[in-house]
């Protein structure tokens, strides 16, 4: 049963199509990596899947087993203002979708568990605006994890991380995907590493150039060209 289906979807800003002919499905447990140059439409597609940008053509459908409030999302270099007064605890707990006024003890523990999973548990009482870029990224990923048990969308989760931390982040994401069965859709510029962990690759260039398994991708032209260093220059 698919979690999300995009059917011949196109997306536009102010009537200008920036991405078209997108057809693919996300199934339970998938680990999909979206790659492509700057401005190729990766973030737009992710926003489309999240219904933040409506499709100009075609459709994006959530599967029967998935409702919008069961999705976790890590925005790209988020637009949150630098001087927003919030504690790390407040930020992470805001990922928990609950109608209660006060969170239950279980909810609070879940928030701390997610932070610990990202090895950022010690930050919980810190002020969010005083964290480094990489620490912020972990906290926001913990928030995204709190929001979902099924599907996690991440827009460049390793941006701003040092190489060691980035590697660590890939491992953690892989673990989440494998152990908790959470499907992952991730945007990355680090094609080689991404292809190592991902099950599927979607390569965009205003339209999908490639959609298939990671192994196939590494065999094909765009894969080789892209993985072969265009990115690493």
């Amino acid at each position: 049963m698919p979690l999300i289906t995009a059917n011949d979807a196109a997306f536009a800003y102010d009537g200008q199509i920036v991405l078209s002919d997108v057809t693919f499905t996300v199934n339970q447990g998938d680990y999909i990596c979206i790659v492509g140059e700057n401005g190729s439409g990766k973030s737009t597609l992710m926003k489309g899947l999240l219904k933040l940008v409506p499709p100009a053509r075609g459709e994006v459908r959530l599967g029967d087993g998935l409702s919008q409030d069961e999705i976790g999302y890590l925005p790209q270099q988020t637009l949150i203002q630098r001087d927003f007064p919030a504690s790390v605890r407040e930020v992470v707990e805001s990922g928990i979708r609950s109608r209660r006024i006060f969170l239950t003890r279980g909810d609070k523990k879940r928030a701390l568990d997610m932070l610990n999973l990202l090895e950022a548990g010690s930050l919980i009482n810190r002020s969010f605006m005083e964290l480094s870029g990489g620490q912020k990224q972990r906290v926001l990923l913990a928030r995204a994890l709190c929001a979902t048990r099924k599907l996690l969308l991440m827009d460049e989760p390793t941006a701003g991380l040092d190489p060691v931390a980035a590697r660590e982040m890939y491992k953690i994401i892989e673990k989440i995907n494998r152990e908790q069965g959470i499907a992952v859709i991730m945007i990355s510029h680090d094609v080689q590493t991404a292809a190592l962990f991902a099950s599927h690759i979607l390569h965009l260039q205003q339209t999908p150039l490639f959609w298939g398994t990671a192994a196939e991708y590494l065999e094909t032209f765009p894969g080789r060209k892209f993985a072969g260093g265009v990115c690493d220059v």
Partner: protein
């Protein structure tokens, strides 16, 4: 020593104005935290100008002011919110245009209608004498609604304020919260405008939040501190205005400014030590 305090409160119009004003200050501060953090503080200012225009028209037509003004300002609030959310139109410039037009309409209407003897300055800068007991009742109701809004939806208010696209992506109806905030702000502005004046009311929205943010680093502490600062500043401002026969609205604004400077100084001292 505090005889004057009891004397002040013994005037029923005074105690009415103070009670209503404290409730309005509380609401303005709570809503202000979200508005300031979302860079929407212009909306408070725009609404007060629209409120002035609407009030003037209501007076000229001989309508009871609040039932006419409140719906007009609510409508304006929803429109202004759309404008500032729309990146294609220059939101702040549009708000400025609407604001000054409303002000111009208000001034024109007031000076053309001969039948009105209330002077313009009491609308622009407020008067504690025009607070009726029905205004007080409305203020109390507003207070109850805003407090309930914050108590019941506090977590969601934080989520939407902190990161609206995350909130929307994870299934929250952010439009609903924004609209609700705009409506409550509109009512707060209209009620506060009578006391504080159209020119000064927006400071009740902006100052407490900025003051609290000088020292507080979590959303909860900012919210609570802003509320406390706002209510305290209002009371002190009224007391000072009574003692020195100074205009009430202006006194409250000056006390708020004083609080801001005080908090800033404490922050400086803290950073140095």
């Amino acid at each position: 020593m505090f005889d004057w305090l009891f004397e002040m409160l013994s005037f029923s119009f005074m105690s009415r104005a103070i009670l209503a004003g404290m409730v309005v200050s509380l609401c303005a501060a709570l809503l202000g935290v979200s508005l300031v953090l979302k860079r929407y503080s212009m909306i408070g200012d725009g609404l007060s100008h629209v409120g002035f225009g609407a009030l003037a028209i209501a007076m000229a037509l001989g309508l009871t002011p609040l039932p006419f003004t409140i719906p007009v300002v609510i409508l304006a609030a929803v429109i202004l919110l759309r404008l500032s959310g729309n990146s294609r139109i220059k939101g702040d410039a549009a708000i400025g245009m609407i604001a000054s037009c409303s002000l111009a309409i208000g001034v024109t209407v007031l000076s053309l209608s001969k039948g009105i003897n209330a002077d313009i300055s009491s609308y622009l800068f407020g008067s504690i004498l025009i607070m009726s007991s029905s205004d007080l009742r409305l203020s109390l109701w507003l207070g109850v609604i805003v407090l309930l809004f914050f108590l019941l939806l506090y977590r969601r208010v934080f989520t939407v304020t902190f990161d609206e696209s995350f909130a929307r992506a994870t299934g929250m109806r952010t439009g609903l919260y924004n609209t609700l905030t705009a409506i409550l702000t509109a009512v707060t502005v209209v009620l506060g405008m009578r006391l504080m004046g159209a020119m000064l009311i927006s400071s009740l929205v902006v100052f407490p939040a900025l003051t609290a943010m000088r020292l507080c680093k979590s959303f909860l502490s900012v919210t609570l501190t802003a509320a406390a600062v706002s209510v305290t500043a209002f009371f002190i401002g009224m007391a000072l205005s009574y003692l020195f026969s100074a205009p009430a609205g202006a006194s409250v604004v000056l006390v708020n400014a004083g609080m801001f400077l005080l908090f800033s100084a404490v922050r400086k001292v803290r950073m140095m030590s």
